[in-house]
């Protein structure tokens, strides 16, 4: 029987994260760009009493289940891009290291009525050194803020882009991913042009 060792067949899987507060439109966004209907995968995490659960004196591990919605875009025969929408239970997905390791970049979806909901994601990506942009999902009745208002409110670094989008709209959501990819390229160029400390004697 012909046997394929698969060496030429496997593409490389790439990963982007879509984060933001509960109900901000992460799964909608994933659905707008994905070539498959968004799928949900779960992981069982083992946690030593974490977050706000005060289990003083009760030193035991517990398990919790975290769910994640994701979609996929075939880039070429060599690359497949996966988009993972992080769940609303923020304090759990931060612990899902595997999900965050190797992410190329991230979109933080924001709702201007509840900007504070994305503080945790912004802090997390900054601390992990994962490049990201903030995409304000414009709900119909929103007062239109300027990008600098959002930047100020979230205390973003000057290089972090702030853009506006409609997560339901295929074109708009693709625009966000294109902006993110350009931002990742720019970050790379910036990194390459800054001399490394101690690189020259």
């Amino acid at each position: 029987m012909p046997y394929n060792d698969g060496s030429d067949i496997f593409p490389s899987a790439l990963k982007l994260l879509i984060a933001g507060g509960f109900g901000v439109g992460k799964t909608t966004f994933v659905g707008s760009v994905s070539e498959i209907a968004p799928l949900r995968t779960e992981e069982i995490l083992t946690t030593a009493s974490i977050g706000t659960d005060d289990l003083s004196g009760v030193e035991r591990k517990s398990t919790t289940t975290v769910a994640m919605d994701f979609g996929r875009i075939t880039i070429s025969s060599e690359y497949v891009l996966y988009l993972f929408g992080t769940p609303g239970q923020e304090r759990f997905w931060f612990m899902w290291d595997e999900l965050c390791n190797g992410a190329m970049g991230a979109v933080v979806l924001a709702d201007t009525r509840r900007l504070e909901d994305c503080f945790a994601a912004v802090d997390f990506f900054e601390s992990r050194g994962i490049a990201f942009l903030v995409a304000v999902n414009e709900f119909d009745l929103d007062y239109r803020y300027e990008p600098d208002d959002v930047r100020g409110a979230l205390d973003l670094k000057p290089e972090t882009p702030v853009i506006f989008c409609d997560a339901r709209d295929r074109k708009s959501a693709h625009g966000v991913l294109i902006s993110l990819t350009k931002h990742l390229l720019d970050s790379q160029i910036a990194r390459d042009t800054v001399p490394h400390n101690g690189a020259s004697a």
């Binding site: 029987m1 046997y3 790439l14 990963k15 069982i44 289940t65 996966y82 190797g102 990819t181 790379q188």
Partner: protein
């Protein structure tokens, strides 16, 4: 009522009707390092027949290179349990696996350019 067309004991309201690690025979650790974005594909070699129905379902989803995340979602099993099933299939030669490529890291501008082109073509 569990859905009758599903070999899983799965109820739309209650979810899976058996505990997740039952499927993996109580094992909680995969035998190989496998990631959510590891890709798996059937080799065409048969799986040995001691493997259970969940293994058959998993194998049936590996017709082309498919991520562990996707197989977990379609089996409606936690990722760790899916990895254990897939490792059994790798161990018996029925499935081949490939870890995410380190070349495809975010610092590679050629990869980013490829993504940019592809996204722009989709518009």
């Amino acid at each position: 009522m569990p859905s009758t067309d599903d070999e899983h004991w799965f109820d739309d309201a209650a979810g899976r009707l058996i505990r997740p690690y039952t499927v993996s025979n109580g094992r909680t650790e995969p035998t190989l390092r496998m990631e959510l974005l590891s890709l798996v594909m059937a080799t065409g070699r048969p799986a040995h027949n001691q493997l259970g129905p969940d293994h058959s379902l998993a194998l049936g989803l590996c017709g082309q290179p498919t991520s562990v995340a996707e197989i977990a979602a379609r089996l409606r099993l936690p990722a760790v349990v899916t990895k254990i099933l897939l490792c059994d299939l790798v161990d018996c030669g029925a499935v081949d696996t490939r870890a995410p490529d380190p070349i495809a890291d975010p610092t590679n501008p050629a990869v980013l350019e490829t993504i940019l082109d592809a996204l722009q073509r989709r518009l």
